[in-house]
């Protein structure tokens, strides 16, 4: 997952919607006309320490806590959810001022819910400064929040978290317990996005998290259970000028395997050689996937009423793992028309791993398609 925002796009609305969208996207992609001065950059592999690294890394420009998951009621009513909290440094350096409101860092959060049965997709966006207790993150006991949207460690337990977020039309309240240990993505957690040194992020995931809780829609409460995925990433500059967007997959299969793969697309249609992923076996063992290990083919597209053609069905083949699956969106319209417009939604997976029939669910994120 490669969202490298460095300014808050969309906060300033201009009359020219397309120019605005373009600018928002290039901000979103972490593309700037200059190399940002004063920020740390992801250049070499580093040692990860937990729980410290669950906390913020304010010397980097962008960071996020990305929760997605597929949940269902006992009767099989399926929901997808996304709660992501982004941290942006508006300017480098720490703040030494007397007001508690003084900060250079702000948070943005997106909350989305896919209700497959009623074919409804809801999303909300929030901003707050990382100050005065409005938004922030604490490593231990773990807590990340933007106003009353929050994920926090259950009393005394660093391994069990509660996630709570809602708006007037919906609310989710979940308990999360990881089933597999942390997976460091890329080279020991250094995830390169291109040939330029420093165009990279630090990236780790919790790929399989047992999830239980309640989803509220209007007056209805749905007890649900399922799996969640957490992506953690921080960077200063990730993408180059030529890169247009990406397709990111996180899949959780019923045979215990999990998979993350992202493909970076260039503006000329080429796929970035630095696209990569990780296959995680049921015990948590990992296999790195390079661009040439994965074959991806779009099967179907959905046209956004707001403009843009999204490939919402894919075929994925990974010969070295004997994996061949079709990935189908559970709802075609899972586009978030937030300050940056992108598609992020629940998917269903069906196919084979070797001779074995496999199925599962996951999340697909597509950026750079909005027109």
């Amino acid at each position: 997952m490669v969202l490298a925002l460095w300014s808050i796009p969309g906060c300033s609305r201009s009359p020219d919607a397309q120019a605005d969208a373009d600018r928002a996207l290039s901000s979103f992609l972490g593309q700037g006309d200059s190399t940002p001065e004063g920020f740390a950059r992801a250049e070499t592999a580093r040692e990860f320490r937990f729980p410290e690294d669950h906390g913020a890394h304010p010397d980097y420009r962008t960071e996020w806590w990305y929760f997605t998951g597929n949940l269902a009621t006992d009767q099989g009513r399926h929901f997808g959810y996304q709660l992501v909290l982004f941290r942006f440094a508006l300017a480098p350096g720490r703040v030494e001022r007397s007001s508690a409101w003084a900060t250079k860092q702000v948070y943005m959060a997106h909350l989305a819910l896919t209700d497959v049965e009623s074919q409804e997709f809801r999303f909300h966006e929030r901003f707050a400064r990382n100050a005065a207790g409005l938004a922030g993150v604490e490593a231990s006991p773990f807590r990340v929040w933007l106003e009353d949207w929050r994920v926090e460690a259950v009393d005394g337990e660093d391994e069990t978290w509660t996630l709570q977020a809602g708006e007037s039309d919906m609310a989710i309240s979940l308990t999360l317990s990881p089933l597999k240990p942390v997976v460091l993505q890329g080279d020991r957690g250094l995830s390169r996005k291109g040939p330029e040194p420093g165009n990279a992020s630090y990236y780790y995931s919790l790929p399989r998290i047992a999830t239980k809780g309640v989803i509220t829609l209007g007056d209805e409460h749905y007890p649900v259970a399922g799996l969640s995925w957490l992506d953690r990433e921080w960077s200063t500059s990730a993408l180059s000028e030529e890169q247009a967007g990406w397709d990111w997959f996180s899949l959780q299969l019923n045979n215990g395997y999990d998979l993350m793969y992202y493909q970076l697309r260039h503006k000329d249609g080429r796929v970035e050689p630095f696209s990569s992923g990780t296959l995680i076996d049921p015990e948590g063992g990992t296999t790195a996937l390079r661009r040439e290990d994965v074959f991806l083919e779009a099967l179907d597209t959905w046209e956004s009423p707001l403009g843009g053609l999204y490939p919402v069905a894919w075929r994925m083949e990974i010969p070295l793992a004997g994996l061949e699956v079709e990935i189908q969106s559970m709802l075609k319209n899972q586009e978030l028309d937030t300050s940056v417009r992108y598609w992020e939604g629940a998917v269903e997976v069906k196919g084979k791993q070797g001779d074995e029939e496999v199925s599962g669910h996951g999340y697909l994120e597509m950026t750079g398609y909005a027109r």
Binding site: S12, R13, W101, A102, A131, A132, E147
Partner: protein, 853 residues
């Protein structure tokens, strides 16, 4: 209708006859129009100035409140910012927005600083418009960045990127302008003086660290009572949830009395103006009695006559009204600055740069100008139309008629006067009732005036028979013989002069009371304070180090410490003055009720508070009652030990011992010090030392000796009444024009009489003498009658209007010089008005005047 003449042609001739007359008397026409126009102009000017200030205040409040329906407000030291976090993060009240507010000065401009959080939806989109790209990021991340209202920036010659200094409570801060705020679809007044910064910058430059001025909330219509209760349950005791409009109302309330008084001034001007309209219209009709009678004899019907004269009056009214409105608008832009300055001195800070042209004052002016002229013309027209033509042709009939009318009028006047007195006897706090009785009394006196003039003239004739010269008797007799003209003129002048006397006595008495109060209260030798603006919750505080240093000065023998705050509780704003008396000081406050030997010890022990007279009046409080104030521990009731004299605030205040204040409020700021110095040391020596200490502390302070502060207070007082001086001058001007019109009409009409006199050997010099004596006598009569009327007026103003507006009681002080000055004013106004007519009279060759017929 003349037989056989086509209807239209006949009407045209009538109209021509009527207008020809007007055109032949251009001076009279001009004066009539000027008179009405001036009356209208005053009304329009006062209304517009008043409304502009009010509107500017409302607009800026609306703009600042945005869509907020409710606000959470705190005590004197604001609100803990944690309250906001609790509401927003824990209760999830996302339609909320924090604010830190202060007033500062930059150059000539008063700036209204608001620190907000541009990241909240309410802050970003609805309250102040969309921000340009990158502005929000800079506001948040770069300390000292600000947005300023575009019209204000333009006046200050500032552009994006410029730096400027703002003085907040004596400390200068440098800010950098990174954007301009546009009024967009609202009037400029909505944003005038508005200075926005991020809440962090605002907290840092105001020293309001960790505190907020208020929290805006947007709660949906028909909000669930439970939500309000939940919010209230989550507020600390010093905070209160109030509907947004109640705050602006409470603030508007503060200046209500002042604005009412201003309106009353406008009404006075109007009454004088209406007199003038009536006066001139009456002349215009009466003068043509001859012409009208001739027309009637030629067969013109009453209805036609009526229509013609009324349409003429309508035309005059319309022209004069349009003119009056134009002049009023010009005058208003001058007045609005006086009004604004008074409001800023005494009430709240409002920036008014433009006159708000609104429909209401204009409409009112049209109704008064056109309608008033018509009504004024109606009575004489009716009289002219009803009188039989033969009778109308005889002058003596009119005057005989007038004399009966004058007697009846004085009966009406007496009745009005008595009703006015009865209204005064009603025990009430209603200001409107006070004004009603004031007007009835004055109107009554004015109605009696013509009769008094008649009596005076006949008295002087009786007494003067044989003693006075022929010319003098001729002159004086002329007044009563032409009472239909002179009566109203004298009455108008009398009213104007009486107004001057009444208002002067009121202001003098007021000033004397304030002066006595200052002498008694300002006991310390030197006063030191941090400059602050308005009387809203002030952040102004003296530097703690500076206070310590000043106390340590060897010359200083005692120090009193003051802190004035505004407490917002139960929808009311109450000024609270926390005062630590110097040990040596005898409290200078004069008690209205209560025994000082009991009151002061109780006050010092913090067992009770004192309330000032206006507060006691407005809230109906007395010694022994209790007053409720929201403290940091919630609403508390404080027993009242006494009511004391105070002219410092027309809403009044609560005086509380600092020790008691400290028990209930965490605010420890001291805003002012009173220094007692060793005898024999000149205050200037100590002042210089204190100034040096303040410079060291980096705080600009106001420091004044006892003498200076008294002078300064009186200066503010005079400034407050500056506007009344202007209005009085205008009223005199209106009356002057009235008397000029009357004399013009009188003298022009008597051209023949004068010509006869001239032909029989009276010299031009003697004619001038007759006219001078006549007008001088008219002025003298007006002046003499103005004295009792003015005295009545002053007493009502002092004991009824002032008391009911402000709650202040004062000793009335009648200055004999003032009274004689009023007579001189009346006589000279009359004489001045006589110059032109008498010049004309003497210039006209008698033969020419006689040949006219």
């Amino acid at each position: 209708m003349v037989n056989g003449m086509p209807v239209l042609a006949g009407q045209r001739i009538l109209r021509l006859a009527s207008f020809r007359y007007l055109l032949q008397h251009p001076w009279q026409l001009a004066l009539t129009i000027i008179g009405i126009a001036l009356g209208i102009a005053i009304i329009v000017a006062v209304d517009l100035a008043n409304e502009s200030a009010t509107r500017a205040f409302q607009l800026s409040m609306e703009n600042i409140n945005g869509r907020a329906t409710h606000q959470v407000v705190g005590g004197p030291s604001g609100l803990d910012e944690a309250v906001y976090i609790r509401l927003r993060v824990e209760l999830g009240l996302r339609d909320s927005s924090p604010a830190v507010e202060a007033y500062g000065v930059s150059g000539e401009e008063i700036l209204h600083l608001i620190g907000f959080d541009p990241m909240t939806n309410m802050g970003q989109e609805t309250r102040f418009g969309a921000l340009e790209e990158g502005v929000m990021e800079d506001l948040i991340t770069i300390p000292g960045t600000a947005l300023l209202a575009a019209p204000t920036a333009k006046r200050m010659k500032l552009d994006k990127g410029d730096a400027f200094d703002i003085d907040l409570g004596g400390r200068k801060h440098r800010l950098r302008l990174i954007g301009l705020l546009e009024a967009r679809d609202r009037p400029d007044a909505a944003i005038e003086g508005l200075l926005l910064t991020d809440i962090s910058t605002a907290q840092e430059i105001t020293g309001f660290i960790g505190r907020l001025s208020w929290i805006d909330l947007l709660l949906e219509d028909g909000v669930d009572k439970k939500i309000l209760e939940t919010i209230r349950a989550n507020l600390p005791p010093d905070a209160e949830l109030v509907p947004a409009e109640s705050r602006s109302n409470a603030m508007m309330q503060m200046s209500q009395a002042f604005r009412t008084n201003l309106m009353a001034m406008g009404l006075m001007a109007l009454i004088v103006g209406m007199f003038l309209v009536y006066n001139t219209m009456t002349f215009m009709v009466i003068q043509r009695r001859h012409l009208l009678a001739t027309l009637r004899m030629l067969g013109v019907s009453r209805g036609e006559l009526f229509r013609i004269i009324l349409s003429e009056a309508l035309l005059v009214g319309v022209v004069a009204t349009v003119l009056g409105i134009l002049v009023g608008v010009l005058l208003g832009s001058g007045l609005v600055h006086l009004v604004t300055r008074t409001i800023n001195d005494l009430y709240f800070v409002v920036t008014v740069t433009d006159l708000q042209l609104s429909a209401a004052p204009i409409l009112k002016a049209v109704m008064l100008g056109v309608g008033g002229t018509l009504i004024a013309a109606f009575i004489p027209t009716l009289e002219a139309a009803m009188t039989s033509p033969q009778a109308a042709l005889r002058r003596s009939m009119l005057e005989a008629h007038t004399h009966t009318f004058v007697s009846r009028l004085s009966v009406v006047g007496l009745a009005l006067f008595i009703i006015g007195l009865l209204l005064l006897a009603i025990p009430s706090k209603a200001l409107a009732l006070g004004f009603a009785s004031l007007f009835l009394l004055v109107l009554g006196m004015t109605f009696i005036t013509p009769l008094l003039v008649m009596k005076c003239v006949s008295l002087s004739n009786q007494l003067g028979a044989g003693r006075l010269g022929v010319t003098t008797r001729l002159a004086i007799r002329g007044i009563s013989d032409a009472l239909s003209r002179t009566g109203t003129a004298i009455a108008a002048l009398m009213l104007a002069v009486a107004t001057t006397i009444g208002v002067s006595i009121m202001i003098d008495s007021f000033r004397a009371s304030v002066s006595t109060w200052l002498e008694a209260t300002m006991r310390a030798d030197i006063f030191l304070s941090a400059p602050g603006l308005g009387s809203g919750r002030s952040l102004t505080a003296l530097d703690a180090g500076l206070i310590r240093a000043v106390k340590a000065l060897p010359e200083v023998t005692g120090v009193s410490e003051g802190r004035q705050v505004t407490i917002e509780s139960e929808g009311k704003l109450t000024k609270l003055f926390a005062l630590k008396l110097a040990d040596s000081a005898q409290p200078g406050f004069q008690l209205k009720e209560g025994d000082p030997d009991v009151v002061w010890p109780a006050y010092r022990r913090g067992e009770a508070v004192l309330v000032s007279e206006p507060l006691a009046f407005h809230r109906g409080l007395r010694a022994g009652d209790a007053i409720a104030l929201r403290t940091d521990d919630g609403l508390r009731h404080f027993p009242i030990a006494a009511v004391y004299n105070d002219y410092g605030s027309d809403q009044g205040k609560v005086l509380m011992a600092r020790s008691l204040y400290n028990r209930h409020f965490r605010d420890r700021a001291v805003a002012g010090l009173g220094l007692y110095i060793q005898p024999g040391i000149t205050p200037e020596v100590v002042i210089d030392k204190v100034k040096a200490l303040a410079a060291q502390a980096g705080q600009q302070v106001r420091i004044r000796s006892n003498r200076e502060i008294r002078a300064y207070t009186l200066e503010i007082f005079d400034r407050t009444f500056a506007i009344t001086h202007v209005l009085r001058l205008l009223a005199i001007l209106v009356a002057f024009i009235g008397i000029l019109t009357a004399l013009m009409a009188l003298q022009l009409e008597r051209a023949k009489e004068i010509a006869v006199l001239r032909a029989t050997g009276v010299t031009p010099g003697e004619v001038t003498r007759i006219i001078t004596i006549q007008t001088g006598t008219m002025g003298l009569l007006a002046g003499l009658m103005a004295i009792p009327t003015g005295l009545v007026l002053s007493q009502v103003l002092i004991h009824v209007i002032n008391k009911r507006s402000f709650g202040w009681s004062m000793e009335s002080l009648i200055n004999l010089n003032e009274l004689s000055a009023a007579i001189i004013l009346a006589v000279s106004a009359a004489m001045l008005a006589a110059i032109y007519p008498s010049w004309r009279m003497t210039r006209t060759a008698p033969a020419l005047a006689l040949r006219e017929e």
